[in-house]
């Protein structure tokens, strides 16, 4: 298992932002923290490093997500 600490930068357009948040919260692979202004702390869990990278890619493609910063990754339990 790979655990990543991410910071998502959200759009400032309110409608898009709300929609993006809803999608992220509903995603079982993610733990979503409290947004600080436009920056949203997120913890992502994936089975492998490759899957984690794919998840990051997918997050970046979300409407309302401006940017994904990868802060730290724990590869400790990668299968």
């Amino acid at each position: 298992m790979v655990v990543s600490a991410l910071v998502l930068t959200l759009t400032s357009v309110p409608a898009l932002r709300a929609r993006a948040l809803a999608v992220l919260v509903a995603d079982p692979r993610l733990v979503v923290g409290e947004a600080i202004r436009d920056r949203l702390p997120v913890v992502a869990e994936a089975a492998s490093a490759g899957e984690g990278a794919a998840l990051c890619d997918a997050l970046a493609e979300h409407e309302g997500v401006v940017r994904v910063d990868v802060v730290a990754i724990d590869f400790g339990e990668e299968a």
Binding site: V7, G33, P41, V43, V71, D74
Partner: protein, 795 residues
């Protein structure tokens, strides 16, 4: 909580912290603002030796904005990123606001009155062991006051500046070649040259306004060829038509190689040399005067510097060398050479300066606009305060020296001192002063108190483990520091004095092109911070009141007597009265009398108030106006050159001729070997100025370049198994430190070379550098020593 939950919780803490940092980082820059009602006034920029003028916007007693000064000839309204943010240098949150004295190991607030007593006690107890260590950032009046305190008052000549570390070799180069210091040309050369040759110089980062002044000519459709002679690819290299990488220390071979080809091909300017030059070689031990040599001897000495030999010594190919010789051999071209620390911080600094002047003289590329060998300075008043006021261990103002009887007499006359007051024995140069301060008294360490003003030797001295650190442990050594922030030096001091800076005080400085500039105080300093110049005068007065004989002139008047318009003495040593009169103006008017001896004439203070600086000699005209000089020694512009088209009127050989020197290439004192296989070069970056004490407190500059790094060649990094960003241990025979590696960053060093900037106080690269210095200029070499780098944790 299971391990998985723990990991996730930890990751969330990390993410939250990072999110907060990112979100709040935007804030630090988007600060509260003020509107309208701003007063604007002129001041030269606080940072480098270029000497740009800025317009300072002040509101409510605070600087709120900066603009390029459109009336300034130096920068024509443009600045660099440091200049645009110079106003923020006043507002770091940790400004020093009270005098602090170390008690039981801890710095504790005291009053100014107590602080002055502490200094007076130290001087009275041992005047011979008291030294002032100053700066090329001193304003002219500050430097002049310190100079007078030491040379006319305390009388031990123990004063030297950080500019010793910065441009001393340029001084000895000018003195040995022309008999008088400072460039003949000026920045106007940059507007006219066809070729700009940069010797170990990176002006795109270090003198950006001058650099863009040249490259913007290209945008206007003008042709100008830029050549970069360098030991690593820099931001300048990309703009250049030709970049020639050379081995450290190879510059001497290159200059000799050019001269050799000029002679061999007959493309040297024989008419020019016959008329204006003599040949010179060094003596043992070396002196600035050297000894005569014939043209044939000169030619024979150079014969060894064939293109093949030059390639072997420097790595520059015969084709590149030939290209350079072709340029110098072309009489139609105008060639300007620029250099700064690359040539000056050199154990053969005087020699390489001489050789570059020699190449210009030999080929006649001298004395016409655009044809000039011009050194640049790193500090705003390295020229104005250090070189002109002479705040060096051996010098007096105006180019006079303590060792000459007639010079001392002149100074004693101007200062109204009893005959014989000035000591004929020079004090210690910078490295020697600090070596003795870091040596116990019974082992020859006869300097026991140093008063540091406007500089940060704990980070900027070379080999600080030897020259600085021991002094903090030896009993009886006392360090006084006047500064604006808790720098590394201030935090290591025994007594800290809070200073006013830049537009918190009146000031005058002199830039790299002989331009003297003036500004007025615009905002009050914070807390109890006070002008350095006041501090010096107040200490002098305290010594006067204690009966120190040196603090009175021969008529019993205080050394720094200042009078008002009615002629009444103003007690300016009392801070409340300091701005009752313009102390800067009075000191400057006295100092200016020294400027005639070497034809470095300065105009009255009032002329500088009106101007955006004036280039000396500034000579009074029949109609009462004052005219500056752009091209020295040239009859068409310099009023003192009257006999011929070019007249070197302070010639070493007393025949109005300049000297073309021969100096051989010789190996540097330390070269990479099996144990320490890499060359280390240190230097600056665009965003930061010197040790970062001001610029690292400016959010915009710090965020663009927040930390020092070790720049490495990719192949070297691969061989060491070091990744980009990885923290490594860098080690020389003198010290070691840890820092992150940056691959593909600001510069690109060739294999076998690393570069580390010195702006970061937390990464003290000068633990590694050498204190070996040039025999004449006493300037150490920060550009080359041997180091090794390993991964942290690796043996």
């Amino acid at each position: 909580m299971d391990r998985r939950e723990f990991l996730k919780a930890t990751a969330m803490a990390t993410a939250v912290a990072a999110a907060a940092r990112l979100a709040l980082q935007d804030d630090a820059v988007a600060q509260p603002r003020v509107d309208g009602g701003v007063t604007w006034d002129k001041a030269p920029c606080r940072f480098c030796g270029t000497g740009c003028h800025v317009q300072v916007g002040v509101k409510g007693g605070r600087v709120v904005a900066i603009a390029g000064d459109q009336k300034a000839e130096v920068n024509k309204g443009l600045l660099c990123v440091k200049g645009y943010h110079v106003g923020l240098a006043l507002y770091g949150k940790d400004r020093l606001t009270r005098p602090l004295l170390r008690k039981n190991g801890k710095l504790e607030p005291i009053t100014w009155d107590q602080a002055l007593d502490v200094i007076a006690d130290r001087v009275m107890a041992n005047p011979a062991g008291f030294a002032v260590y100053g700066s090329g950032q001193w304003t002219i009046p500050e430097g002049y006051a310190a100079q007078k305190l030491i040379k006319a008052g305390i009388g031990n000549n123990q004063i030297d500046p950080n500019a010793r570390l910065c441009m001393a070799s340029a001084v000895t180069g000018y003195l040995s070649t022309y008999g008088v210091d400072e460039p003949a040309g000026c920045y106007d050369d940059l507007d006219r040259c066809d070729v700009l040759l940069m010797w170990g110089n990176n002006p795109a980062e270090m003198h950006p306004v001058l650099f863009s002044r040249v490259i913007d000519r290209r945008s206007r459709g003008e042709q100008v060829t830029l050549i970069d002679l360098t030991t690593r690819r820099t931001r300048t290299s990309g703009f250049c038509d030709r970049t020639m990488l050379f081995k450290p220390h190879g510059d001497l071979a290159i200059a000799n190689g050019i001269a050799h080809l000029l002679l061999e091909r007959g493309t040297w300017d024989q008419a020019f040399v016959d008329k204006y030059c003599n040949f010179r070689k060094r003596t043992a031990p070396p002196t600035l005067d050297g000894q005569a040599m014939t043209a044939d001897e000169y030619r024979r000495e150079l014969a060894a510097y064939t293109p093949a030999r030059v390639e072997e010594l420097s790595g520059v190919s015969p084709a590149d060398l030939s290209y350079l010789a072709d340029l110098f051999g072309d009489r139609k071209l105008r060639i300007t050479s620029l250099w700064c620390m690359g040539m000056n911080q050199h154990t053969r600094g005087t020699a390489i300066n001489d050789l570059v002047h020699g190449v210009h003289l030999l080929s006649g590329h001298f004395g016409k606009p655009g044809d000039a060998p011009t050194s640049l300075t790193g500090q705003p008043s390295a020229c104005g305060t250090v070189r002109e006021v002479g705040t060096l261990a051996h010098a007096l103002p105006g180019g006079l020296v303590v060792a000459k009887d007639d010079h001392r007499k002149e100074a004693e006359a101007i200062w109204n001192l009893p005959p014989g007051r000035i000591n004929a024995k020079p004090g210690y140069h910078t490295v020697e002063m600090w070596r003795r301060f870091s040596t116990a008294k019974d082992q020859g360490g006869d300097i026991d108190t140093i008063w540091v003003q406007v500089t940060n030797p704990a980070r900027s001295l070379p080999n600080i483990n030897k020259l600085f650190e021991p002094s903090r442990k030896i009993p009886g050594k006392f360090l006084i520091v006047s500064d604006v922030y808790p720098t590394a030096t201030a935090m290591a001091a025994d007594l800290v004095l809070p200073s006013a800076m830049w537009v918190e005080k009146n000031g005058m400085v002199g830039n790299s092109e002989r331009r003297t500039q003036q500004w007025f105080r615009m905002v009050p300093p914070p807390g109890e911070a006070r002008d350095d110049c006041w501090q010096t005068i107040a200490v002098a007065r305290r010594l006067h009141d204690r009966g120190h004989a040196g603090m009175k002139d021969k008529d019993g008047r205080f050394l720094f007597q200042v009078v008002d318009q009615a002629g009444a003495v103003v007690p300016v040593w009392d801070w409340r009265r300091y701005y009752d009169v313009n102390v800067d103006e009075q000191l400057f008017e006295e100092y200016r009398r020294f400027s005639r001896f070497k034809h470095k004439d300065l105009a009255p203070y009032g002329e500088y108030v009106k101007a955006r600086g004036l280039r000396w000699p500034v000579v009074e005209q029949p109609d009462g106006s004052w005219r500056e000089t752009r091209f020295r020694f040239a009859k068409f512009d310099d009023p003192y050159a009257t006999k011929a088209e070019l007249q070197f009127y302070h010639s070493v050989t007393k025949d109005d001729r300049a000297l073309i020197w021969f100096h051989p290439w010789e190996a540097p004192p330390e070269v990479p070997d099996r144990d320490y296989p890499l060359w280390l070069c240190t230097g600056r970056v665009l965003e930061h100025w010197h040790t970062g004490t001001m610029t690292m407190r400016i959010p915009q500059l710090q965020r663009a370049m927040p930390q020092a790094y070790c720049e490495m060649n990719r192949d070297d990094a691969r061989a060491l198994g070091v990744a980009d960003g990885e923290v490594v241990v860098l080690e020389s025979r003198r010290g070691k430190l840890e820092l992150p590696v940056w691959l593909g960053g600001r510069g690109e060093p060739p294999a076998g070379t690393v570069f580390v900037p010195f702006f970061d106080e937390s990464i003290a690269i000068n633990v590694a550098t050498l204190e070996d210095h040039d025999p004449l200029s006493k300037q150490p070499d920060y550009k080359k020593c041997a180091v090794r780098v390993r991964r942290k944790g690796a043996a």
